[in-house]
């Protein structure tokens, strides 16, 4: 839709006599100057770290001795011998794999419902608020899932006669993962939810009208054939956001590291080896697994949901 084909002519005015440096400055000078602060910080604190992490994952760096290249040993250890890594990988898939999709679908569903309701602003605040509540919420989780009989849920269950003695929620290995999922789902209507809301507010009313003329019969048909195609860019953004948040999940309930590592995730494993054991090389290998998982899934989603308009444009330009 918006192509940048108009950019080029700006330089035509400059006379050919000027040296290429001057021409470069005339064309790119201002842009580079404005872009420089972002560029320097982005390279230094995002791109270089990824590259260093990649390199470090092939070493045995431990902050004390100079790193030694050990090839794929870290990865071999990870996938063959490290039981906690297997657990972390599994948990990331379970915790992120449930909370992520549930949160994503709920975000869209509620955005869609709220958008057709009155008091939109109020409902938006209420559904969005849990995602920004942050660490202050420990107060309520500690109270709800308190291990003694005065905890809200224990008290409820004991009074209902379902259990005799209180369940120690934050130490019982059966419950830590489900509680983490619950807390995550509760707070999962974040940026994605807002993006969906915004997308739905900017729908083209003419399209749904012409859809009705063309035989759209109910709200669900309208949702599928008219609404969803219009909010594809928002759906894609939401999907990427969900992937990043779900795969980077760090268990907030049950302590770190959790008892018997029941709620161990990839992010927790990085923390464990990086900052408790200082095996930076090994922790970097875990980081790279997380990186490629997230990046790979992101690419899959982009392929699926992207409106591929760029390709024909490129071809046209190449010909012209």
């Amino acid at each position: 839709m918006k192509t940048s084909t108009i950019k080029a002519p700006a330089t035509k005015a400059s006379s050919p006599k000027k040296s290429w440096i001057k021409r470069w400055i005339q064309k790119y000078g201002m842009g580079s100057l404005f872009f420089m602060p972002f560029f320097i910080l982005f390279v230094l604190f995002t791109i270089v770290p990824v590259l260093i992490g990649m390199a470090m994952s092939f070493t045995n760096y431990d902050m004390l001795m100079t790193p030694k290249f050990i090839g794929l040993d870290n990865y071999k250890n990870l996938f063959i011998f490290d039981e906690n890594f297997a657990k972390a990988l599994q948990n990331t898939f379970i915790i992120g794999g449930i909370a992520g999709p549930v949160g994503y679908l709920a975000s869209f569903l509620f955005a869609w419902i709220i958008n057709n309701m009155k008091m939109k602003k109020l409902f938006t605040v209420i559904f969005y608020a849990p995602s920004i509540a942050g660490s202050g919420m420990v107060v309520i989780w500690d109270y709800l899932f308190s291990g003694d009989r005065y905890g809200f849920i224990n008290n409820l269950l004991i009074n209902a006669g379902l259990i005799q003695s209180p369940i120690i929620w934050n130490a019982d290995t059966d419950f830590i993962v489900p509680i983490n999922i619950l807390i995550l789902v509760w707070g999962s209507m974040g940026t994605g939810f807002l993006v969906f809301m915004a997308g739905l507010q900017n729908l083209d009313p003419q399209l749904s009208e012409s859809g009705r003329i063309d035989g759209i019969r109910n709200v669900f048909q309208e949702l599928w054939f008219i609404t969803l195609p219009q909010v594809k860019p928002q759906l894609l953004y939401g999907a990427i956001n969900t992937i990043v948040v779900s795969l980077g999940v760090f268990p907030s309930f049950g302590g770190f590291p959790s008892p018997n590592y029941v709620a161990h995730t990839l992010a927790a494993h990085i923390q464990d080896y990086g900052f408790l054991r200082f095996e930076m090389g090994y922790a970097s290998a875990v980081s790279m697994v997380l990186f490629f998982l997230s990046f790979g899934l992101g690419q899959v989603v982009i392929r699926l949901l992207s409106e591929r308009e760029e390709k024909p444009v490129r071809k046209r330009r190449a010909r012209g």
């Binding site: 064309k27 602060p37 809301m197 997380l290």
Partner: protein, 293 residues
């Protein structure tokens, strides 16, 4: 006549059914809204409970005799502990303010440049920005720790601020939003003799206001709630941020501190909520441009 009557009847019945399902929908949504809001309301309200209500069992949901004693306990009683509460508050305010300011300046400049000026390799760079949005921050935690050490930023406020400033999302958002800025407006300003910097200040920044207001909300929330960074990149307890203190109080379960804990939770949660509510209109106007095509 008969036909007309039937028609009206059908319409009437439809209207009734519609109203009924609408009422059902509203009831369900209000119920869900309660589930979402109750934990928050509980925590926010607990901050104002006097000690006897705090320790009551079964607990009271709403405050009966609201008091500010929990806050004074937080500010005064914790004063005797190694690092006073005010110090954490000061650290958090300083770090968050500078990170938010830095992010907005860097992202608006960069986004404006990428959208309206010519930046070399801008396509490649934008692709890198998108890629950076597809992996979680935990991936670069370890190398970042080393870079911060090498640059001598370890144990300084800068370690909590500088690495956060050039976020991929801010750049992406500003570029997308700036694409809506009409080019003729800029051309007209250039013809009138305005320099690039004054165009940025007088045209781009006001135009981008909803977008940077949104970035303000998100960056504020992220920084204010980030406890991990100040645990990893800081070893001096007196430079750490509020979430660290909160975890510290909540971990040593001391009944006398229940009030202080509730007050601290309030101070952590309330600002993000208030800022979002104040900027909600701008945030919603901006988020429509957050789609990836």
């Amino acid at each position: 006549m008969v036909e007309k009557g039937i028609k009206i009847k059908i319409r009437h019945r439809d209207a009734v059914r519609l109203n009924f399902s609408k009422i059902l929908l509203y009831a369900a949504m209000i119920g869900l809204a309660c589930i979402m809001a109750l934990p928050l309301v509980y925590v926010l309200g607990t901050a104002f409970k006097p000690i006897d209500e705090l320790l009551k069992f079964p607990p009271v949901f709403f405050v009966k005799k609201p008091t500010l004693s929990n806050f004074s306990q937080l500010f005064l009683a914790l004063d005797s502990s190694t690092v006073p509460f005010l110090r954490y508050l000061f650290n958090s305010v300083l770090v968050t303010a500078l990170a938010v300011l830095g992010t907005i300046v860097v992202a608006t400049m960069g986004g404006y440049a990428m959208s309206k000026l010519t930046v070399p390799f801008s396509k490649v760079l934008f692709t890198l920005v998108i890629i950076a949005m597809t992996f979680p921050g935990n991936v670069i935690q370890i190398p970042l720790y080393m870079i911060i050490k090498w640059l001598g930023l370890y144990n300084t406020y800068a370690a909590l601020i500088v690495p956060k400033i050039a976020g991929a999302y801010g750049m992406f958002l500003m570029k997308q939003f700036c694409d809506q800025l009409p080019k003729p407006l800029l051309e007209a300003a250039r013809i009138d003799g305005a320099g690039e910097f004054s165009i940025y200040m007088k045209i781009a920044l006001p135009f981008l206001r909803p977008a940077w207001a949104t970035l303000l909300v998100f960056t504020f929330t992220a920084c204010w709630n980030d406890g991990a960074a100040s645990l990893i990149y800081i070893s001096d307890q007196s430079l750490r941020l509020l979430p660290v203190m909160l975890t510290a109080i909540s971990e040593n379960t001391n009944l006398a501190r229940a009030g202080a804990l509730a007050a601290a939770s309030f101070i952590i949660m309330a600002p993000s909520l208030i800022i979002f509510i104040l900027q909600q209109r701008r945030v919603m106007a901006t988020m429509a441009h957050s789609g990836i095509k």
